[in-house]
Structures are given as structure tokens and as C-alpha cells.
């Protein structure tokens, strides 16, 4: 197999990382080993896996300097951002350890035998079990938090599922380094060696999704990539769940009152959000609704100034840079689109992108303007009154987020906008920008298609639910039950005869 190449986006120079792309036979071996490891990983129990996740976080923390340096060379995202991303990555590993300790994620329920209008009902006990080996596809834009040591891996391991990661071609060296660090920690924690594996190369990714041992797929990437993997899944003898987090437009509505009260702050904030990470966030605000008139003009003026002050940025890889160039050229060439501002001039080296602010009017809005473009570009849509705004909002595709920037104490218009966008968004953001996705119990990162995480999330405590499936035991002797379903177990919240009970109760 050919060597895996790591490319420096600042220079465009490639470097072999000393690892070959993964051959089909090796993918098969790794998947078989993952399947064989599953019972032992599950047998570690919640306590054992919580300890494992904390060890993984500690191990990454210990290699922080190396990991950040390698990731910066491969992604050009900058050391401060990558340092923060590693902190987040370790935080979420530890959060899933907390989720295991708390235990309600198991949805344990006991219905004791009882007589009903349909006759005697047997004793039934339900709990979630690990779904089996999970294929995780690393994301280009988060080499840590959504890649080898990322949220999919953390939540799958928490659930008790061995993980085989497909390393993203944008950061194979970072992926391999993280894998080596985590693998050693897995062994040191006494978990099965094959709890975690890595593969490199596009074909290896396809082989992984087709492999009978793989029971679910976690994917962050493009719609086209996802469609190709879904085709492979459809062709399986046993189609499996696919949890994809694909593109997202992330509309933002600036209300007239907000524009009047804080045009400067909003203008700067929006540009900060859409150029963060060189605009390579799935939650980047791609379309910003700004009122027509002087207050809206002030918002756009401030956005333009901020864009002009933003230096040229470096994108993750050649494909993203080419796509950014093509899409922005197409947008700029449209009669219904004006160029408001460009950022700093390119130097001619590496995968550069010039930050760009475009504008159109709500009346002109068409579906050609509602497609995501990865990179530092956003389109301002000027609207003339609420009817004009609502007509344009009706054209919005589903997104991970929808944002309203309000005036102080303003409720009526935000409520109306929320009502219209709620069915097409996974997260509704108020008076903030959508690019931050906090890791917590109540977070949701998903939405209707183009998320296939429509009913589950890839960020936050409930992400573990993707890699679990329910099983009910009927009339079971205690010897065959998981300990959490024994009558006298009190370690986790459970539903007993329909009533939720806290741990200990």
C-alpha cells in the first residue's frame, strides 16, 4: 500500500508519516479483533470504563505539547486554538466518565409481574447495551475533538463499544500520534488492546463501513462523502445505523431592534464567528439576515471593516481551498450578489483563502445561495420588514443551528423567528454566535437532514445513546441479568413499575 502523506497547509509540502494506507486484509483483521474485544470491554463495567476514559484524558494531557505541535503543522489552525481543542477533548472524555458514574444513560427499567386487562404480564426488565464495534470517521476541521480522541470515540468507548477510527487525510500524523498515546493508555488501564484501532486511506474507510463486524458509524464530513457511505450501508446484508453530521448553513437573524442598539458589537461578532478557524466550523454562520435601512447599514459597515482587517487565512487542505475558490467565484459572479469586502491579500503560498463578505436582498434569495461553503465567507441578506424576512426564512434548509440576535428584552419577533426555524434546526441560539458548541448534559448537535443525527447528537452527554441498543429480559433469573437490573441494586436512577427513582432510592 502507498505511504500516508501528511501535508503542511501553510506550504503545501507533503511528508510521509511512515505508515502505509491500510490494506483490506488489515481492515478485516482489525474489525475482527474489535468484535472479539467487545465482551471484555463491556465486562469492564461502568466503573472500569470510567477509569479508562479518565486515563485516556490524562495520557493526552501528558503529551499536550507534542500533540498541539503536530496538529498545528498539519492543519494550520494555530497553537492556541489547538491547545483549547485538546482541553475540550480531555474535558469530554472525562464528561463521559461522569455519564458512566451517573448511570441513567442505561435507561434501566423494571416492570414487576402484574395482572392486566390483557391477562398476567410477566416480569420485564429493560436496559441499553453496547451496540458493538463502531467505525468513527475523523473530521478534517477538528483534528482532536472530532477525530481519533474525539467525541465519537469517547462516547462509543463509554457505551462499551470498541472503536475503529478512519483517520482523516488532513491530519494523519496527528491521528496516528493520538492513536499511539491512547493505545498505550488503553493497555495500561487493563482494557482490551483492540478497544481502539486506526485505519488510513479512503478505501480502508469504505471497507470499514462494509465490514460485518461494524455495528454503527459515526461520521463528520461532507454530504457527498456521507451519501457514498450510505450507499455502502444499503448494500450490506444488514444495514446499520449511520450517525452523520454533514453540512450546515446556520442562518442568523439580526432583528431591527438589535441592529439599532448594538450594530458595532454585532458586526464584529459575526465576522469573528464566520472567520473562526478560517470559517471551517460546521456551525459557521453562512447567511446573516440584516434589516434594510440605516441601522442595518451600520451592522454591515462594521462587518466590512472587520473583514478588511482580517488577514488571509490558511485552509485545511487543497480540496477545501479549491472548493472555496470555486464557490466564492461563483457567488461573486452572480448578478444578485454584491461583494461587500475582502480580507488580506494572498501571499501565493499554501492553501490560502481570502475572507469575503457578500450581500444580497431577501427578495433575491434563491436556493443557490443557501448552500454551505466551507471557509471564511458569509452572505448578508438584507430584509425589508417582517414579511420579507419570513418569506426568506421559509427557504432555509435544515441546519445545526439557527440564531437570533435580539434587542434588549425583545421577545415577539424572536419568538416568531424561532417558531419558523425550530423545525429546521438542532440548536436555537440567542444573543450569541453559533460557532461555540459547549460540551454538557443539555447540548444538542444535530438536526434534520443534512444531519443524520436527527434523533441523536454528536456532542454532549447524550451522544452515548447512538452506540447503545435496548434489550428486554422477560422472566429472567437474576443470574442472567446485568447487575443494574437486579431488584436490590440502587447504584443508578431506574424506572421501577413506571416511576423514575433516583440512585439510592
Amino acid at each position: 500500500m502507498p505511504d500516508v502523506i501528511s501535508t503542511d497547509p501553510r506550504s503545501g509540502q507533503g511528508l510521509a508519516i511512515g505508515v502505509p494506507e491500510t490494506a483490506a486484509a488489515e481492515v478485516d483483521r482489525l474489525c475482527g479483533a474489535a468484535l472479539a474485544a467487545a465482551p471484555d470491554l463491556e465486562a469492564l463495567g461502568r466503573v472500569g470504563r470510567a477509569a479508562l476514559l479518565r486515563s485516556l484524558a490524562d495520557a493526552l494531557d501528558d503529551e499536550r505539547a507534542d500533540v498541539v505541535a503536530v496538529a498545528d503543522r498539519e492543519t494550520a489552525l494555530g497553537a492556541p486554538r489547538l491547545d483549547g481543542e485538546l482541553t475540550r477533548t480531555c474535558f469530554q472524555l472525562r464528561l463521559f466518565a461522569d455519564v458512566l458514574d451517573e448511570g441513567s444513560y442505561l435507561e434501566a427499567a423494571i416492570d414487576h409481574a402484574v395482572d392486566t386487562p390483557m391477562g398476567p404480564r410477566p416480569d420485564l426488565r429493560r436496559m441499553l447495551l453496547p451496540i458493538g464495534p463502531v467505525a468513527v470517521f475523523g473530521a478534517s476541521n477538528f483534528p482532536l475533538a472530532f477525530s481519533v480522541p474525539g467525541g465519537d470515540t469517547a462516547s462509543a468507548l463509554a457505551a462499551g463499544c470498541p472503536v475503529v477510527v478512519k483517520a482523516h487525510g488532513s491530519h494523519p500524523a496527528t491521528s496516528q500520534l493520538c492513536f499511539d498515546v491512547l493505545s498505550e493508555a488503553v493497555r495500561a488501564a487493563g482494557a482490551p488492546d483492540s478497544s481502539l484501532a486506526i485505519v488510513h486511506g479512503l478505501q480502508a474507510g469504505a471497507d470499514l463501513v462494509a465490514h460485518p463486524a461494524v455495528r454503527a458509524v459515526g461520521f463528520t464530513g461532507s454530504v457527498n462523502g456521507a451519501r457514498a457511505l450510505l450507499d455502502i450501508i444499503e448494500d450490506r446484508a444488514d444495514p446499520i445505523p449511520f450517525f452523520g453530521e454533514l453540512s450546515s448553513l446556520n442562518p442568523v437573524v439580526v432583528t431591527p431592534l438589535a441592529a439599532r442598539e448594538r450594530a458595532e458589537e454585532i458586526g464584529s461578532g459575526l465576522v469573528g464567528s464566520f472567520t473562526l478557524g478560517a470559517g471551517q466550523f460546521c456551525t459557521k454562520p453562512g447567511l446573516v439576515f440584516v434589516p434594510a435601512g440605516a441601522d442595518g447599514d451600520a451592522v454591515v459597515r462594521r462587518m466590512a471593516e472587520t473583514v478588511r482587517d482580517t488577514p488571509v487565512q490558511v485552509l485545511l487542505n487543497e480540496g477545501i481551498a479549491a472548493s472555496y475558490g470555486r464557490i466564492t467565484r461563483e457567488l461573486i459572479g452572480r448578478a444578485d450578489v454584491d461583494v461587500v469586502a475582502h480580507g488580506g491579500e494572498p501571499t501565493g503560498t499554501g492553501f490560502e483563502a481570502v475572507p469575503t463578505l457578500l450581500a444580497t436582498s431577501a427578495a433575491d434569495l434563491t436556493s443557490g445561495l443557501t448552500e454551505e461553503c466551507f471557509g471564511p465567507v458569509s452572505v448578508v441578506v438584507r430584509y425589508d420588514g417582517e414579511a420579507d424576512l419570513f418569506r426568506a426564512l421559509a427557504l432555509m434548509p435544515s441546519s445545526l443551528t439557527a440564531t437570533v440576535l435580539r434587542g434588549e428584552g425583545e421577545d415577539a419577533l424572536p419568538l416568531e423567528v424561532s417558531r419558523r426555524l425550530r423545525g429546521r434546526a438542532g440548536r436555537l441560539v440567542y444573543d450569541s454566535y453559533p460557532t461555540g458548541v459547549a460540551v454538557s448534559w443539555a447540548q444538542h448537535h444535530g438536526g434534520p437532514w443534512p444531519s443524520t443525527n436527527s434523533q441523536h447528537t454528536s456532542v454532549g452527554a447524550t451522544a452515548v445513546r447512538r452506540f447503545l441498543r435496548p434489550v428486554t429480559w422477560q422472566g429472567a433469573p437474576e443470574a442472567v441479568l446485568p447487575e443494574e437490573l437486579a431488584d436490590d441494586y440502587r447504584g443508578i436512577p431506574r424506572r421501577v413499575d413506571g416511576v423514575l427513582r433516583a440512585a439510592g432510592a
Copy 2:
């Protein structure tokens, strides 16, 4: 469009029900109306929808005599069974009303703003919302409990989702009658008229799944039917969740100790289970592992006697009867299969099936014998020792259920069998037969493929989860939040800052 024909399976005679198959334009109109009704159905709130569900149950109870009579004429399932099925149908409508009252199905969670190692975290509030209009495909074998007034409809309406049911061709008159009864109750309860709609005809079903307004599909039927609908979903601009409950083999293991202790009871019980409803249960035990030797012989002898005493049965429709005839002939023609017993002789009228018991040895077991055959046939597999049994169990496909019939106090072998089948079943049954599926909080009816309900269930309280999707509000003013997410709301269990709290606390 051609008239819809209702066929009496006892005579094979057809009768127009006075309703045409649903044309494409009408499917479009109904789906559009369902989408338009969704906000009002949701706005009824949990209290309003609980009242609606109870009214639907009351209305069905009031029309019990008519519903049972029409269903019996169309399905030949017999009045006692259909009377019981209607009781179950009403029970589950009322259970989902209880689920709404209890409210924890919303998974409400509040994370107050806090400082973290990654900086300040905003206020985040998560709750499940209705996914939108749901297409429900009625099942041939449960004209009530899995059809127009069935569990999919009940759980979707509970979630707040309008429902468009595709009536099954085996019982269109029952479907239309139930629809008329429910529709009137919907209006009387003050819910939107278009909360429930019905379509007839195969093409109408396909049109429904392709319709942009439909947001999820609940399906009970064949693997081939499901694959065809999944192809339609894959071709949508926005693929949607498909919850399919397809075929199932449902292996049963009789341990040597159980065979020794209670051969007679087990022999009769197994035949009762596989001939119940003329063997047209998705949980029918299709493969029964019985030990070699005298104790196992006694089980098989009793099974044979019971089968011989079972009269010829009437299947639901011509297609099922033809398929039953073909598959049993193929099985009987195999060199590795013996015919143990046949039931009563056919009369030559209607869609008859002769109950049939076949046998093979575990050593001969191949995948040709592990496919479901709808109807009153089961295959006994004689095993010679545990190694022989375990080798055969490894060939089992995934099923809705896996059953162990144990000796008194026996744990070791049942545990080992459970361990081997747990990954391939949704429900593990002990010392009972798999054909009863109680409706309760802890029930699970699903499993890995050929269930696509691999992570959710079509029976029991948690079935509502299929028709909900999470949304998170970030930094939201109270005016835009659902009442259940307000700080001072106490009506349902919620997770606040990571800690589960009971209602009122």
C-alpha cells in the same frame, strides 16, 4: 382509481369497500394538511394530547362489536383474538396518555450558565420535540394493535406528530372503519382534523414515503417491502428515519434439564405458540432447539401429538398462503429435514394452511433453515451436547426474541445461551413463549437488522422516542422556551445541571 377490495380469507371472496385507492394528488393533499396541522397538534400540549388519546380509546371501545366483526371477516383471526387485540389497542392508547402525563419522555435538561476550563458556558436547555408528520404502515397480522389505531399511531400522536396511515390490503375495511371512528373522536376532542389521515393502495404507500412533508416512517412488514421503501428514502433530497419491524426467526432453546422435567408442558406450549394466530406472529418461534435423547424425544412426541390435534388454519391473504405453501414444500423436500407431524386436512376453501412440524439436526443446520416462514410451521433442531448447540446458535440471524426454557433453578446453561444470543435479539425470554408482547414501560420490541428498530422499539412506552428529536435552546429568553424548560416548572422529571430530579423537586 380502482376500488379497494376487502377479501374474506375463509372464502377467498372479494368485496369493494366503497373507497378508491388513493391517487397521488390526494396523498399530496393529505400530507400537506398533516404538515399544516402539526403546530396545532403540538400546541394541544401534553395534557391535551393525553385527553385526545384517551378519547380515541373510548371511541374504539364504544364500537367494539362492529370493529371485531369487520376485522374477523377480513382476517379470519377469530373474534376472541380480535376482541383481545382491541383491548390491547385501547390499553396502549391509554398507556401513551400516561407517558404524556409523566413527562420524562421529553428528556428535559437544563444546564445553567457556568465557567468551565474552556471558558464561560452559556445557559443550555434541551428537550425533545415532535419530528413532524409520520407515515405509518399497517401490518397484515395485527389489524388493530399494529394498524390504524395501533402502537405506531398512538406513539406518534402522543409525540405530537400528525399521522398518515397506509392501510394494509389485508384489512382495508377494518382500517377504514377504525379511521372513521378515530377521526370523529379527533374532531370531538378539539384536535386538528388532519391529525390523522388514511391512504389505500401500494402506490399511495410509496408516494407517502417520498413526500417531503413526511418526517419519519413506522413500518411493520416484510424485508422486501422494507428494502423497497428504504430505496425510496435514499432517493429523497432529505432521507428520513425509517423504523421497520421486519421478519424474525425467534429461536427457542430447550435445555436438557427442562426437557427432562417438563416435556409435556413444553411440547404443548411450543405448538400453542407457533400456531397462535395461524403462526402469523413476528415473534413466532420458528426454530426450536431440543436435546437429542429420550427426554428430547418426549418433547418432540408431545409437539407432534399437539400438531396432529390442531385443525387446518386460515391465513390472512392469498400471498401469505402461497408463500407458506411454497416454503413448507421446499423445506419438506430437503434431504436434511424430516416431517414430524401435520395438522388437520384442508377443506379446499379459502387461504388454508396445514400446521406442520419439521425436524433436523443441529449438525445439519444451514442458513436455508434459518429464514422466517410466516404461518403455522416450526422446525425442531435436535442438538447433541452443548458444543453442538453453541455451534448451531452461532448461525442464528438476529431476531426480535430469543427464548430459553430452563430446568428448575438452572442458571449455567441459560446464562451461556443468553450470552451467545444477546447480541442478536431484542428480548430474551425465560420459561415462557415469545408470542406475547406485553405493552409496558420496560418492553422492547426490536433488535439488530432485520429490525431497523435496532435502537428504538415499536412496542412499549419508549416507542414514542422514535417520533421525537432533540432541540437545544442556548441563552434563550423564557418567552421562547417550552413551558417544561422554564426555571420554575416542576411538572415533570428533569435533569438540572446534570442531576435527575423528580417531578415536584
